[in-house]
Amino acid sequence: MTRINLTLNGRAQHREVEPRQTLADFLRDGCDLTGTHLGCEHGACGACTVLIDGLPARSCIHLAVRADGCDVRSIEGLRDDPLTVLLRRHFHEAHALQCGYCTPGMLVTARDILRRFPAPDEATIRRELAGQICRCTGYVGIVEAIRRAGAELANQPS
């Protein structure tokens, strides 16, 4: 076992992990943060996407030992994040989820898209969402929700 010190959803954590443990399993099994979902477990589907030091990361292909010294934020830690609150409302209104399995990764990725591309158009959103797989919605609602959230942001007086 290896000792790691990290900030998880804003709180300092000191934990023992096995080197082979992925960050996703650490979050789900070690910390009871089951909002991080596992689909493919090899980096392809995006369900497990979390933030490491503010950057989207596939937690299924990231070792927990490497989170030592890092700031990790899972979907649970984005509850009051203003961008995520905005996105959640538009996901609701645009019917951007059905079963919800892909949604945590979608929200983390959507948030990153809005941070990198102000008021993104549909083509940009679709390109940037290529690594997030949804088996239910057909993507139309998800793309529309992100577009609307970006448009609302762009119209806000800063």
């Binding site: 290896t2 080197p19 992925t22 980096g43 950057l55 989207p56 596939r58 940037e128």
Partner: protein, 275 residues
């Protein structure tokens, strides 16, 4: 899809890293982990020890001289995509980086890890070969330099010796008269390529470099096509030279793959030679 058990070390210096890699049977280097972690989950890699290169000094550095820019092996695809590191290639590196995998993978995957793995379908080996880059390699006995064509030996095979670590790549600066073309054919945005065409016209009297990537082996320079292009050939003559070179680069390609390869290289040439 769970990795097997292994030990983990995060050395702070190169000598410690060499000692760890050479001192333990079955030790492997860990770059961004974006290929190695899937390989561990699939159990196609089973290291006894992972030697994390993340804390080694200099691996994320970028240094510039008048003629070249050295890009550290630990620089991420996303850093190149965003242009936060200097680009010697007048936009080619940025363009290539943006087409690799997905942002969450690009945030951690490194240019050095991609070349060390030498996946035949990977983007960086083909791109760096077209740019005539030189790899800088460190081992317990010091540093050596290898041009990309000497480093890449075949599918998942490089000239790296046990214990050696890629430090970075020296990439020649393209001049104002240079042109490049890049065409990646993949099933979807971010997927591994079915075929890659990469063309660099240095524009300083140096011959064109035409590369076919995503063959079943290493990316290949296409010499006859490059010579034809240098002579100003186009149309059927250039096409015949390309077909010959593609046949040599991937003799077993079926007609569909040959067409894909021809298309990507022709598109890259068109991009590089268009006004």
């Amino acid at each position: 899809m769970k990795p097997p058990a292994f030990d983990y070390a995060r050395p702070a210096t190169l000598p410690e890293a060499f000692a760890a890699l050479l001192g333990t049977e079955g030790a492997m280097a860990l770059g961004g982990g974006q290929s190695l972690l899937p390989m561990l989950g699939l159990r196609v890699a089973a290291p006894s020890l992972l030697v994390d290169l993340a804390r080694l000094p200099g691996l994320r550095e970028v240094t510039e001289t008048a003629a070249r820019i050295r890009i550290g092996a630990g620089v991420t695809h996303a850093a190149i995509e965003d242009g936060v590191v200097a680009d010697p290639s007048r936009g080619m590196l940025r363009r290539v980086a943006a087409g690799i995998a997905y942002r969450a993978v690009r945030n951690f995957g490194t240019i050095g890890g991609a070349v060390a793995l030498a996946d035949p379908a990977a983007d960086w080996p083909a791109c760096l070969l077209a740019l005539d880059a030189v790899a800088i390699i460190a081992g317990p006995d010091g540093e050596r330099r290898l041009p990309l064509e000497a480093l890449l030996l075949g599918a998942y095979t490089t000239a790296l010796e046990a214990g050696e670590i890629l430090l970075g790549f020296d990439v020649p600066r393209l001049g104002a008269a240079s042109r490049w073309g890049w065409c990646k054919l993949a099933r979807k945005q971010g997927a591994y390529a079915d075929s890659i065409g990469a063309v660099v016209l240095p524009g300083d009297g140096a011959p064109p470099r035409i590369v076919l990537g995503a063959t079943t082996s290493r990316p290949a320079l296409l010499p006859h096509a490059a010579a034809a292009l240098a002579r100003g050939e186009a149309g059927a003559t250039l096409r015949d030279a390309l077909l010959g070179d593609i046949e040599a680069a991937e003799p077993d390609a079926d007609s569909y793959r040959r067409r894909c390869h021809l298309a990507t290289v022709q598109r890259a040439i068109a991009q590089a030679t268009s006004a």
